[in-house]
């Protein structure tokens, strides 16, 4: 009986421990790529199951918290799953699973032999840790786990572009870590505690509230770099187009969203969001993030570079949700995150598939895909149009909610920008569509595929197309069946805005 209880308690830490356990197992089998593939797949499957159970638990019985080592909060480290966390963990698992599949189909064996799969699991471990922890310093640790795995995944293979991209990625992210660490230190110096719930409780008693604002700004900058908001995003376009598509895809889907998650978490649970200063920063940043991102995309002629800049642009929408800070806006931001992760990952997968097919990411060199692979074209249109906010796909509802929230709060300018950016996004997506799918292949109008594609087994091809189908299907489901998704987003927004439940659950009050 006790064991069962323990396992139910254990469930919320499993998204962190499972990937680690499987990574270690893979390290023991590091000579056998096949075993690693299987273990990796198994790990992601288990993680998905766990995350679903966590979600059901949280949805049924409220916020769950685990005091690691039995040291009561705020003295030990708390692992906490509220709705937002559990949603994020589920999406992480979905993306993990699809990336695992896509990797089997697309990653070259040399990378696999150099421990690609354990790295993937380490990355997921860090991401899940960041979503689940209730401790500020522990968040820093998970950020670092996530970062270092992403550093390695980014540079794995050692091609020139990878290395050049990685240098910027690494340096700027380390800079953000340094700011993060400083902020953690200052916050401890002010509040004398690291537990998010406890900090939230103690902040009102700090003598100098203006100093709290200083820390809040520093956290915002640190997370802003990770989230790639304006003007802190430079590392992203410099690097995201350099690694293999599977890596780009999981980065594109998950990494920046951890930054967004942290911003949401800090400005709902930890800090009390009552400063016009912070709001102004967020609003201006949201607008400029949307704009500069989409304009950056408009300037590009490379499939993945366009997609990379669009990540930034889309992050702007999520930040807009946080900046507006009404329940609807936060719900919109959460809905946006869910939608965007699914869609963006898929677009990167598709870019990878096209690359395998045609041997290039450059729009000028590509063409003729739709003619011979209409299914792939259709599969591209689903996420692409969703990203552009075409109804009734998921992206439309995401934008709709935010625009509605913005108009409710009479933030007309930023709503106007959001709408304009939506149009420009559509422009970019049609540009890809025109150049890659519609246009004839500039080299040859016959069905010419790259040598690598010809050499792929049908199993590998299937492994590449399957995750694309899965994610496209999810996009459609979210679009056509948006009500439950929106309701959950709404509920998590409510939970975030009333942090007393969180605090009580973590600190064991009441």
């Amino acid at each position: 009986m006790k064991l069962i209880e323990s396992i139910t308690m254990l469930i919320i830490i499993l998204p962190i421990i499972l990937p680690l356990t499987f990574s270690v197992m893979m390290l023991f089998f590091w000579k056998s790529v096949k075993i690693q593939r299987a273990l990796n797949l198994l790990a992601t499957l288990f993680s998905l199951i766990c995350s679903l159970i966590i979600f059901v638990e949280v949805n049924n019985s409220g916020i769950i918290s685990l005091q690691v080592g039995g040291w009561q909060a705020p003295f030990g480290i708390s692992i906490v799953a509220d709705l937002l966390s559990s949603i994020m963990v589920i999406i992480t698992a979905v993306i993990g699973l699809t990336t695992a599949l896509f990797s089997i189909g697309s990653i070259d064996e040399s990378r696999e032999r150099y421990l690609y799969y354990p790295l993937l699991q380490f990355l997921l471990m860090g991401i899940n840790g960041a979503f689940l922890t209730g401790d500020i310093f522990n968040l820093y640790v998970w950020f670092e786990v996530m970062l270092i795995s992403s550093f390695v995944l980014l540079s794995l293979g050692g091609r020139r572009a990878q290395l050049e991209g990685a240098i910027k990625y690494v340096t700027l992210n380390l800079l953000s870590s340094a700011i993060f660490l400083a902020a953690v230190g200052i916050l401890y110096g002010l509040a004398g505690t690291l537990n998010m719930a406890d900090v939230s409780r103690k902040i009102p008693f700090i003598e100098n509230q203006e100093l709290v604002n200083v820390v809040a700004v520093l956290f915002l900058i640190a997370f802003g770099v990770k989230a790639a908001i304006f003007p802190l995003f430079f590392w992203l376009p410099a690097s995201y187009h350099t690694p293999p598509a599977a890596v780009s895809a999981i980065f594109a889907g998950l990494l920046t969203k951890v930054g967004v998650y942290a911003i949401i978490r800090f400005f709902t649970t930890v800090f009390i969001y009552n400063s016009d200063f912070i709001k102004d920063i967020l609003l201006v940043s949201a607008a400029l993030t949307m704009l500069t991102g989409v304009l950056g995309a408009a300037a590009q002629n490379n499939f993945r570079k366009i997609l990379s800049f669009h990540i930034i642009s889309q992050i702007g929408y999520m930040i807009l949700g946080v900046a507006l800070f009404s329940p609807l806006a936060i719900a919109g931001a959460i809905f946006y995150i869910i939608h965007h992760i699914i869609v963006k990952t898929n677009l990167f997968f598709i870019s990878g598939y096209v690359k395998k097919l045609k041997g290039s990411y450059n729009l000028k060199e590509l063409g003729g895909v739709y003619k011979f692979y209409p299914m792939l074209g259709l599969l591209f249109l689903i996420p692409a149009l969703s990203l552009a906010g075409i109804p009734p796909l998921s992206g439309f509802w995401a934008k709709f909610v935010l625009i509605k929230a913005g108009l409710e709060l009479k933030e007309f300018l930023v709503v106007g920008i959001a709408l304009l950016v939506g149009l420009l996004t559509l422009f970019s997506m049609t540009k890809i569509w025109n150049e890659v799918f519609w246009k004839d292949d500039p080299q040859n109008s016959e069905n010419v595929t790259d040598i690598t594609y010809k050499s792929l087994t049908s199993g590998k091809k299937f492994m590449m197309i399957l995750p694309i189908i899965i994610l496209a299907f999810i996009t459609i489901v979210i679009g056509f069946y948006a009500e439950p998704f929106f309701n959950i987003a709404n509920e998590s927004a409510m939970q975030l805005l009333d942090s007393s439940n969180y605090i009580n659950s973590v600190l064991g009050l009441k």
């Binding site: 080592g69 692992i79 421990l115 270092i148 700027l172 200052i186 739709y370 109804p391 509605k404 009500e483």
Partner: protein, 766 residues
């Protein structure tokens, strides 16, 4: 109705699978789909005609007020019937016309989706549901306009149409949300009794402007009209369908649909009236220059769309009546003429009016059809077009003050349309037979049947207007004006001013035709100043957009790592300092300078070593110096009671040195890159960061801190953590999960170093 839509979408997609096996008679199969829709809806005719409003309701996203509510009233049904009826003809026609195209199966998928979306649009009562279908028509028309996507012009036109209608769509969405914010509902039918509330609201004008933007772009009103002629890149059945009867009418439909809620104000009526008038005239005028059959028709369509808009702008009972009749008439004859143009193209290989002539003997059926439709278009009795034009003139004449002015414009525009009609509908068949790229021949029955039906329908409606559309007209007017219409449609009103105007129009039209032929080369040479052409605005806007996008990307994403760092740091320090300044004013602390001897030693070592690192011209020297920095850190940790930290620092420093030594082996000498100004800038930035950090630390440490954690660890470390070294107990017990993460980082770093050094893929690919 929802089920009909679902069936519609499924049927559309199924075309992809059933096209190939039934290729030869696919036109009939395809036509049965809109026919089925037509029959399904016309079965409700009686109900609607009796004034019943049929509604359906399904929950979709109730928490956002978005539901699948469908409404079938006179207005909807009119549009539904036009859409499906012309659909039957176009689908049948396309079966033959598209036979030799590649991927015709895809064509039927798109056009099926398009039709279904169009149906959804006109039966939706919920604004957001309507918007969903609105955007779906944009997307499916994008696919249709760009159907010949191997041609760059096709792709460009498709993009243009999508961007113009898409931008309007976004405005429309915002407009809808404004309406929601005013009324708390997205249901259009719920707006009936909220008219006064709406027009009094502060959001009213925003809502009107945004919604009209949406409608105007979709219905190609000036200055957004340019996408429509360009969209003639599409295969002819597409042009016939989208640009005569369906898509471009969506905007008109929307204006009509929302008239009851938003109308009655100067803003609404005036804007619509003015833009409608301008479009009517300009489009007709622009037609003069055209030589391509389809482009001629397109400009005439634009003019008609302007007229329709103008009519709603007038907003009188008579105007609405005119609107309705003209709408039906136009759909019929324009659909026919587009298809005729397609047939001519198909049979002769050209669409240039100058290359066509004397085909009456070779293509008799086509000629007959064209004649019938042209008569309607020119407003010749007894076709429906005649009634349409008559009513339009009557409605305009009713206007006070501006009526005269408007009627002149209307007559001129219509005369120009007459000219277009002569060019498209008559000229190809009469006169001398010209040589064409393909030897002309009469078209296949499937391509003749449909247009002929439509043309005949136009005749029948002209003769028996009340029997066929009378009831529908009444109900439609109720939908638009929320009041009953007391006027019956009549073909013949006797000799009056309006009839005179009709004759003037015809005469003027013929005059225009003659003049046009006479001065054709002159007309061709008339170049409009580019800046005046909205299509050029679009081009300029795109060019500007690309220029600006590249410029801002080059400025921001410039590739220089240090610029990125500077951006981040200035943002961080700038924003944080703003808060800090406020914090400082509320603080006062006293410094007691109490510096011991070894503190001086440490400080001078730190400063000296830092200085050496910064100024050093050799790598090894910097490494030795940074070793001293680390070493000094260790000493600080010893002085301030942190032996574990000191141990770790020394160990790490040594390992870092070893690493550096292994890595830097054989690297070249430092190069001095930066000039004095750059260095000065960097010194200022770094000094700012340093001063900021020092200040923060000073002020935070000046506050008192009461940490429960410190005492807790001191009390529990030995009894419960079983260790005297509290730091270690924290690391392996209290906060063991931190340490777990930490060793994971190390493991990953090791893998990373190993992989980086061992795995070196060549630079081809990726």
């Amino acid at each position: 109705m929802l089920y009909l839509l679902i069936i519609g979408f499924i049927a559309s997609f199924s075309a992809a699978f059933i096209y190939k096996p039934f290729k030869n008679y696919f036109g009939w199969i395809a036509a049965s789909f809109p026919l089925f829709m037509f029959l399904s809806f016309i079965s409700r005719y009686q109900q609607v005609a009796n004034g019943e409003i049929i509604k359906e309701y399904y929950e979709w996203i109730p928490s956002l007020g978005i539901n699948l509510t469908f409404i079938l009233d006179g207005l909807s049904l009119t549009f539904v019937l036009i859409i499906t009826l012309i659909g039957v003809v176009v689908f049948l026609y396309a079966g033959a016309y598209m036979k030799d195209y590649e991927h015709t199966d895809r064509f039927f998928v798109y056009i099926g989706i398009f039709m279904t979306s169009m149906l959804g649009l006109v039966i939706s009562d919920n604004m957001i549901t309507l918007f969903v279908f609105w955007e779906l028509t944009s997307i499916s028309s994008f696919m249709l306009i760009g159907f010949n996507h191997h041609k760059e012009s096709s792709r460009k036109s498709a993009l243009q149409a999508l961007l113009v209608t898409g931008s309007g769509g976004l405005a429309l969405l915002a407009g809808f949300i404004f309406l929601y914010l005013i009324t708390g509902s997205f249901e259009i039918s719920s707006l009936y009794d909220k008219h006064s509330e709406i027009i009094k609201s502060g959001f009213y004008s925003s809502a009107v402007i945004l919604i009209l933007l949406g409608a105007f772009t979709k219905s190609a009103q000036f200055p957004f009209h340019f996408w429509l002629p360009n969209a003639m890149e599409a295969p002819t059945p597409v042009s016939a369908y989208l640009h005569s009867a369906t898509m471009v009418k969506a905007g008109i439909y929307l204006i009509a649909r929302l008239n009851h809620a938003l109308g009655g104000t100067e803003l609404w009526q005036g804007t619509i009236l003015i833009f409608g008038t301008i479009t009517m005239l300009i489009a007709a005028a622009l037609a003069i220059k055209q030589t391509d059959l389809k482009r001629l028709l397109a400009y005439s369509t634009l003019s008609v769309l302007g007229t329709l808009t103008l009519l709603i702008g007038i907003g009188s009972q008579l105007a609405i009546k005119a609107f309705f009749i003209y709408l039906v008439a136009h759909s019929l004859y324009k659909g026919t003429l587009f298809l005729v143009a397609g047939t001519l193209d198909h049979s002769t290989g050209t669409r240039d009016v100058h290359n066509l002539g004397g085909l009456k003997k070779i293509m008799p059926v086509t000629m007959a059809t064209a004649l019938l439709a042209s008569s309607s278009m020119m407003g010749i009795i007894p076709l429906i077009g005649f009634i349409g034009k008559e009513t339009v003139y009557s409605a305009i004449l009713e206007i006070e003050y501006w009526g005269i002015f408007l009627i002149i414009i209307a007559v001129i525009s219509n005369a120009l349309i007459v000219m277009v009609t002569i060019l498209v509908g008559l000229k190809p068949f009469f006169g001398k037979l010209t040589s064409t790229p393909v030897a002309p021949h009469e078209a296949h029955i499937k391509m003749l049947f449909g247009p002929a039906i439509l043309a005949i329908l136009g005749l029948l409606m002209g003769i028996f207007p009340n029997a066929i559309i009378g009831k529908l007209l009444e109900q439609s007017t109720i939908s638009i004006l929320t009041e009953e219409l007391g006027i019956k449609i009549k073909l013949w009103h006797g000799f009056n001013l309006v009839l005179l105007l009709s004759f003037i129009t015809l005469g003027l039209g013929i005059l225009f035709y003659v003049l046009r032929n006479k001065f054709f080369s002159t007309i061709q040479n008339v170049r409009m100043i580019k800046i005046l052409k909205p299509s050029e605005w679009y081009e300029y806007l795109l060019i500007f957009l690309m220029w600006f996008a590249k410029l801002q990307t080059r400025i921001l994403q410039n590739g220089y790592l240090r610029n990125y760092i500077i951006f981040i740091l200035i943002t961080a320090i700038g924003l944080a300092s703003l808060s800090l300044i406020k914090a400082i004013t509320t603080l006062n602390i006293n410094f007691i300078p109490d510096i011991t001897f070894y503190e001086i030693a440490i400080l001078s070592m730190m400063v000296g070593a830092t200085f050496v690192v910064i100024t050093s011209d050799s790598r090894l020297k910097s490494i030795v110096a940074i070793g001293v920095v680390g070493f000094t850190m260790g000493i600080i940790f010893i002085i301030y009671s942190a032996p574990d930290l000191a141990l770790t620092t020394f160990a790490i420093e040594t390992l870092t040195v070893i690493l550096f030594v292994l890595v830097l082996y054989k690297l070249p000498k430092y190069l001095q890159f930066s000039n004095v100004i750059v260095k000065l800038r960097d010194v200022i930035i770094s000094a700012a960061v340093g001063i900021f950090m020092s200040t923060v630390v000073l002020y935070v440490t000046s506050l008192s801190m009461q940490s429960d954690l410190k005492t807790y660890f001191a009390e529990k470390s030995l009894p419960e953590g079983k260790g005297r070294n509290i730091v270690n107990v924290i690391l392996v017990d209290f906060r063991a999960i931190d340490t777990l993460g930490e060793i994971t980082v190390l493991a990953i770093a090791a893998i990373g170093v190993y992989a980086l050094l061992k795995l070196k893929l060549d630079d081809k690919g990726e």
